[in-house]
Symmetry: C2
Subunit: 230 residues, 2 copies
């Protein structure tokens, strides 16, 4: 066993970022610092899920950052536009969906970078995925590489050691492959939430794009999805 | 006269960004959108100065963004560390000062990028300056170039047109050259504030690094600084 390493993990409370926590640990990053954003999204249940995952994974510090993305408009996740639902996998793969939040991953990574600078941590993990959400420009490998280059020029820690790394362990995995890897590592998917549109008790709708992708992936693996749908 | 162009200007209310507003206008960017950040800095007078500059320059929209940099610590501008004062120009040029806020320019530019995406604006102006503040890693030309590359990969507008431009018109100017250019363009420097540590009436201290640089620059030009010092 190598010595313990520190990392910051962006944690939404969803399936992807919960898997990333276990992947980071499995790579020797056992001192984890989690950052969760409250950006006026309608899905407050995600934040509760993030808190459960922090507790269950012995994460050292959890920073909640409130950001005001809603005031920019332009996304159904933060405004009153209607979220797509009932779409097939083929339809989901086409174009940039209404749930795109402008510059969201850049804002998230930038806050993580500021925290990394203060904590003197070089490694940042994000559960971005290029295959299932090909419509988002800020989920592409080239984008993350460009962010990493910028981050090393932007900060003291980067300038001194040129060593900030943005880890995207899910970038080329399908949703089914992510769940498969997560189950091997012991992720408790009953604690995660994926739905864009849960009801007032936090039960997933089962028909939004995110639910559709999740349900299809569990089905493909022949595994049971441990969360309950409406 | 070419046709009117749109741009976003990051406006702190200080000498530099006030000059940038006039420079942008002089380059044909006459439809200006200003963005000002309230990041828990002690200098609330900057925000009032920004509001005066918005009024005087017929800026179309002014977006105030409250961000929680203070919770990260690590800077005397947002926490209780003491600001350097009484330092000579030579001393000011050495090392990264305590007023460095982690990843500040990256956070500012990222919010501007999100707004640019929503407004469909390609041009962002920032009054960063490499000479007087050589200690800040995120004031270097290489950093801004890297941000621009990342920004074009991060957004719909960038992906479609590869056309987001980060303008840093002050990057290689001395403070005296900035003021000289600003006076030519009609900047009213009586409306700006530069001090890190103004008193309760908003009068500048005259001895912090920012005041020292400003006073020396006016002196070098043989011009009178129109603001009052304590």
């Amino acid at each position: 066993m190598g010595h313990s390493k520190k990392a910051i993990v962006l944690l939404s409370g969803g399936l992807d970022s919960s898997t990333v926590v276990k992947i980071a640990s499995s790579k020797g990053y056992t001192e984890l610092f989690a950052m969760t954003f409250d950006y006026g999204q309608r899905n407050k249940f995600e934040i509760k899920a993030a808190e459960r995952i922090v507790r269950d994974n012995k994460i050292l510090q959890h920073k909640m950052v409130t950001i005001d993305l809603g005031s920019f408009g332009g996304s159904s996740l933060t405004s009153d536009l209607e979220v797509e639902h009932g779409r097939s996998l083929a339809e989901i793969g086409q174009g940039i969906p209404s749930t795109y939040v402008p510059a969201r991953n850049t804002i998230f990574l930038t806050y993580a970078l500021a925290w990394a600078e203060v904590l003197k941590i070089n490694d940042i993990f994000i559960g971005a995925n290029n295959l299932d959400y090909s419509g988002y420009p800020d989920c592409r490998p080239d984008y993350f590489k460009a962010f990493e280059i910028m981050a090393n020029l932007a900060t003291r820690i980067g300038t001194e050691e040129n060593s900030i790394r943005i880890h995207t362990p899910l970038i080329n995995l399908t949703k089914a492959q992510i769940i498969e890897r997560g189950l091997e590592l012991g992720v408790d998917y009953s604690q995660t939430i994926t739905c864009y549109n849960p009801n007032s008790e936090g039960h997933s709708c089962g028909i939004c794009d995110a639910c559709t992708l999740r349900k299809e992936a569990f089905k493909k693996l022949g595994k049971e999805d441990p969360i309950s749908y409406q």
